[in-house]
Symmetry: C2
DNA sequence: TCCGGTCCTGACATCGATGTCACAGTTTGG
DNA sequence: CCAAACTGTGACATCGATGTCAGGACCGGA
């Protein structure tokens, strides 16, 4: 601490005093180990042709300085320019469907030392573009996106550069790429067929915002199945634009109190299903009005009656999406494909009631 | 495709042919706009002293090339060295508690243009160190960590360098830093007091792995409350080491079939609570044996009976953790503090049954 | 007219790593 | 025993951006 130089202390100290607030670099490690920086680089990256003695010295120096290499600096020069980073945009990281997908993506990424940026879309087109832009500025190696904008053509230049992009849960517009989605229309049709087979003819549809692609598909599957069964859809109550539990709850209660209440309900999204369950309970109709939901709901099997659903497989969607990204990073140049992950009808009671 | 040069084709083309697979840099934008790179930098970063005409030219060039600045390259030279990135390590991104926390962190980060790396811990000490190391190699500005290792002293050098670290959900060992946790012992005591007040004396404890800090705290709160009430804890069934729904389910069934079955159960974690609910149902005991769980469970209010819980506030934990990180990034140098987020007893029926 | 001060602008060094290449010393093969 | 090949190593340019600094154009005032 005491200065040892005289009045002419303009001479820089030849010894690098270690500043605990400074982050060590390869240069520091090299100096401490008495080798060149390139040799440190070789040791850190496990490159061959370094003597065991040198390896040991470098390791010890790196350890004693708590050196962590700067991945991004290395990236800059590195030939393939990979950042070992993925961008994932989901509905909301707080939502169980998104969480399961996220988890599957993470597991695949982890196995390759890839880190995942996760962002929530909140069905807001502005957030979509902001998030994608944030990912691109950080030079992610690939994008897994849930989208809500009218068109994803803003991604065309990036796709042309070869960045792998996989769209999940919803199909994009204006671009060709890999897509991984649930069997939305077919699942909705299966749910509808199930209710029809129990004798229901007046089945209400509770749907999400009409501008969301999956919501449209589910509605289409529902209506087409009714058509196939020869049910006149004119007086079928189709309610859309519900975006949370509360709206669904109110809509269902209004239906129950209408002149011709439905004998069954198809709720086309998990939050809507929960709102519908609440509504049925509040009116004491949960043992008389049938209900089938799209997308599984936690603890649905423990409710009384259990909630019959068309379950999606978010884990499989995430797994497949990540697999596509890595396949393309490994050189797959085939044309973009759409992968449809099947849904599964799980009967638990609420969907197996006959109209009274 | 056909070569237009003669045998001496060593002459490089003076015109830069635009390669659609190449990612544009500031140099490319500068060339197209007919300005220097530094001017492009100024425009992109909104620095002053650039003429409106130049701004327009640069903007147009950047737009036409679909230029996205490389944040990490900028970072390298940038004075503060901030990467606008955060590392978040949670129990599992697929778990609703983690999801809620993650969401709150994301919201705070988003407001400052900060992206979040999310990783799952899975209560595996190796994953903890691997994840932290991956974060540090990517030069995150701050760390929000759920931990499981015996000691976090491996973080001391990083803390000394001034990287803000906040521990969430569980208290760390061997380091001093900001900590945000639920009121574990007090919450467990409140749950216990609640059951005692309904006349229960033989209350079983179903607990998570004993080496997890929060699990210990909840057990302590439970036992201390029994002590205060003068209940002999000798013949109180305390079962720990349950790490999933299934184990909890089996443990509970074994208890019910034992010689002196409990009249009430305190399940100290959300998966354990679910396993306990299943066990009670399978044995038809859900209307006779009381149950209070620690941590809320989705749809708990719709079950029959509703599940009484001591609810945590994961959103508030995440919000507070992010707030601490940003406060420290903004210069707060105060000593590390522990923030305790209160829990709340929510009565729904399962905890309000008297012993038969 | 000259001077000092803004306003704009670009050349250049630099951040922390890796790719290339040159070079010395050691083996190997003929 | 010597050329060829291989091993171990470090100097240096470079990746894409920003900080520094210097210089030219233009302004108003003396």
């Amino acid at each position: 601490m005491t200065s040892m130089s005289g009045p002419e202390d303009w001479v820089a100290s030849p010894v690098d005093v270690v500043d605990p607030r400074a982050r060590p670099t390869m240069k520091n490690v090299a100096a401490l180990a008495g080798v060149g920086v390139k040799t440190v680089s070789r040791v850190i990256n496990g490159e061959p042709n370094v003597s065991p003695a040198t390896i040991a010295r470098v390791r010890a120096a790196a350890e004693s300085l708590d050196f962590h290499p700067d991945l991004h600096a290395g990236n800059l020069r590195r030939a393939d320019g990979r950042s070992s980073t993925l961008g994932l945009l989901v509905g909301s990281v707080g939502n169980p469907f998104s969480g399961a997908m996220h988890r599957a993506v993470e597991d695949a990424a982890n196995a390759r030392g890839v880190a995942v940026f996760a962002s929530s879309l909140d069905d807001d087109p502005d957030r979509e573009e902001v998030a994608v832009s944030a990912f691109l500025r950080r030079r992610v190696d690939g994008l897994i996106l849930t989208t809500v904008s009218k068109s994803q053509s803003y991604l065309l230049p990036e796709l042309r550069r070869g960045t792998p992009v996989v769209f999940v849960d919803r199909e994009p517009a204006g671009v060709e790429a890999d897509v991984v989605v649930s069997d939305n229309a077919a699942g909705a049709a299966a749910a509808t067929r199930h209710l029809l087979s129990y004798g229901h003819r007046r089945i209400a549809f509770l749907g999400d915002r009409a501008d969301i692609q999956t919501a449209q598909e589910r509605r289409r599957g529902f209506l087409e199945e009714l058509g196939r069964a020869g049910v006149a859809t004119a007086d079928i109550p189709v309610i859309t634009g519900l975006h949370d539990e509360d709206a669904a709850n109110r809509a269902l209660i209004a239906l129950l109190e209408s002149e011709h209440p439905p004998t069954a309900v198809f709720s086309s999204q998990n939050l809507i299903t929960i709102g519908a369950v609440r509504g049925l309970r509040e009116r004491g109709a949960h043992h008389t009005v049938a209900l089938v939901g799209f997308d599984d709901v936690p603890l649905a099997d423990l409710l009384e009656p259990g909630v019959t659903v068309v379950a999606q497989n978010p884990h499989e969607i995430g797994r497949l999406a990540a697999a596509r990204i890595f396949a393309r990073l490994d050189g797959d140049r085939s044309a973009g494909r759409t992968y449809v992950v099947p849904t599964e009808l799980i009967t638990r009671g609420s969907g197996e009631m006959r109209p009274k």
